[in-house]
Symmetry: C2
Subunit: 340 residues, 2 copies
């Protein structure tokens, strides 16, 4: 049921009908918000179930209306504790299937575990995209140098702004006339650009090989802008980060960091690394597959700082590491792209 | 069909009936040879199909004879190009199922993809152990310090002798009265000790978490002797190696290296790392989850050296790094265990 393209990338049909669930917690719809913010063109409409007050400000449509207006994929762009399909969501999903839409989900549990959903999808000939599952035909990494250029976001930790940084860089590069492609490696990124590989969901043997398929040989003027994941210093996910680094063989890494964070997310006993150490270690590993890898910028997430303090810290890092330091949400990423 | 224990480890029933396939290539039965060499007590008998001349020197029994003599698991202890169940093997597997044996396979393709095997297993109530598949309920790593002591083999590359080194260390430690357990992380290791986790076959998010489950809190006098995988310098598998390192939180690492190897296996463009660099990088990462990690020895695979040259190189490394340097196949590992 779970279908990937021959090269193992997801390929979601657009436009989307975004499902916001039946709750009232705005944090739960982070994925949908990311899609609406970064790729509004693919968002036909939204729907919140039950009495939910949640909205992204998109047109509100029933499932039937959305299907009649051309929606191709019903996107479960939200998370819950446990990562399962809430029984409250099921009628909406079934109606979408009956209306001919594919379903896309980034939940931990598979859509096709639910017999009613599986049967309906088979009956109506629609595809269930379980973005965190089904990468079964990848190859192991080879480490051969590929043509084209690559930028990778690396981090001091998870959830510091790697996806926003790379999406912003792709947008700015395109605005400046570069031939650039954002390469999604996480579920929100995949849903935003409707393609990519959720790299923490592949079998461990195929992390770097999966990334090699995600950003293959390209024209010499082409830039892959690759979403990073995790951190070499996060003991839960460092293996993913290292495979991603080797598979990306980046010409340029961008270090992403959240100002003020003191320990690794959810692991209070593991401190955030020193930035110089983190840069050096990432470059050391990157040079295994690209001896020319260099640091190109620092993306400092300043959401917890005052405007003045943010400016002061960015200036200090820029002076210390001699690369542009920016916050994509505050300063934009022009300073980085201008110096490419 | 693929069953793991609650803690996600394999648990194979013994004794085994070892199936050597129908070919004539002794390299193909490396897994079976490892089992017969390291754990002869669980090997009731062997069987080669067709006209195969292969043998491990075990008693030869037909499937029926083995079952009558108490064999509990029919082990497909061999590999072929493509990693699939050869149609020539199918009659033997089906006979084993009909005789009430479980089936264990380390092939890339699943046993239960073959309808006749799946149906027979269901009908006769036996378990299909696909050792490279089905680790679906692991947790992410936490990096909390666990009680008990841990030794991990790390390497300059794949296939340099990490499994042999750790099996030999466990054996020597037990002989000296230590409370030690070999922890298998690859398919041959799992089959040898009939338990463990094939760590390159788990979902990437769960590499370190899987290892945390494999060697949990233990008594202060207990040593886990953990089989390593891959190398931080092998761009195909380094993610697995790093997750394994973080999850193991080793007190002691043993560096495993094959004398004379010049480039990473199957990747002629990636050189073998400098040993001092490899030790330093492994210790740096290991100290994220165990600040006290140290180098305890160097296992030098000298199979391509003359006796004199092997002795010379081991002495040189021992002098340079100030830890015992040994070849488990030539010198044994007593020098390492003696200094614990």
């Amino acid at each position: 049921m779970t279908v990937k393209k021959a090269n193992q990338q997801e390929q979601l049909k657009t436009p989307y009908h975004l499902f916001l669930g039946c709750g009232d917690n705005p944090l739960a719809i982070k994925t949908s918000r990311g899609i609406a913010e970064w790729n509004p063109d693919v968002c036909l409409a939204e729907i919140a179930g039950g009495d939910s007050p949640l909205t992204l400000g998109l047109p509100k449509m029933s499932v039937k209306e959305a299907a009649q207006n051309g929606a191709k994929t019903f996107v479960i762009g939200l998370a819950n504790a446990g990562g399962f399909v809430d029984p409250e969501w099921e009628p909406y999903i079934l109606e979408a299937i009956e209306s001919g839409m594919d379903i896309a989900s980034g939940l931990h549990r598979r859509l096709d575990e639910i017999p009613s959903i599986k049967e309906a999808a088979e009956k109506h000939g629609v595809t269930l995209h379980d973005i965190r599952h089904g990468y079964t035909d990848l190859k192991t990494g080879k480490g051969n140098k590929r043509t084209g250029k690559r930028i990778l976001a690396v981090g001091t930790d998870c959830s510091v702004g790697k996806m926003y940084t790379t999406l912003a860089i792709e947008r700015e590069m395109k605005a400046q006339g570069y031939n650039a492609t954002f390469r999604a490696t996480g579920q929100t990124g995949v849903m935003i650009v409707s393609s990519g590989i959720c790299i923490d969901a592949v079998i461990a043997d195929f992390i770097s090989g999966g990334i090699e398929e995600l950003c293959p040989d390209n024209t010499p003027d082409h830039w892959d802008v690759i979403e990073g994941q995790g951190s070499l210093y996060n003991p839960a996910f460092a293996g993913v980060s290292l495979g991603l680094l080797h598979g990306s063989q980046p010409d340029i890494i961008i270090l992403c960091h959240e100002a003020g964070r003191e320990h690794i997310k959810d692991l209070a006993h593991i401190p955030i690394p020193d930035l110089a150490d983190c840069i050096e270690l990432n470059l050391k590993h990157a040079r295994l597959t690209n001896p020319d890898a260099t640091l190109g910028g620092i993306s400092l997430n300043c959401r917890n700082l005052s405007a003045e303090e943010g400016e002061r810290q960015r200036a200090a890092l820029q002076a210390k590491f001699n690369v542009p330091c920016f916050d994509p949400m505050i300063t934009g990423v022009k300073a980085f792209v201008d110096q490419l």
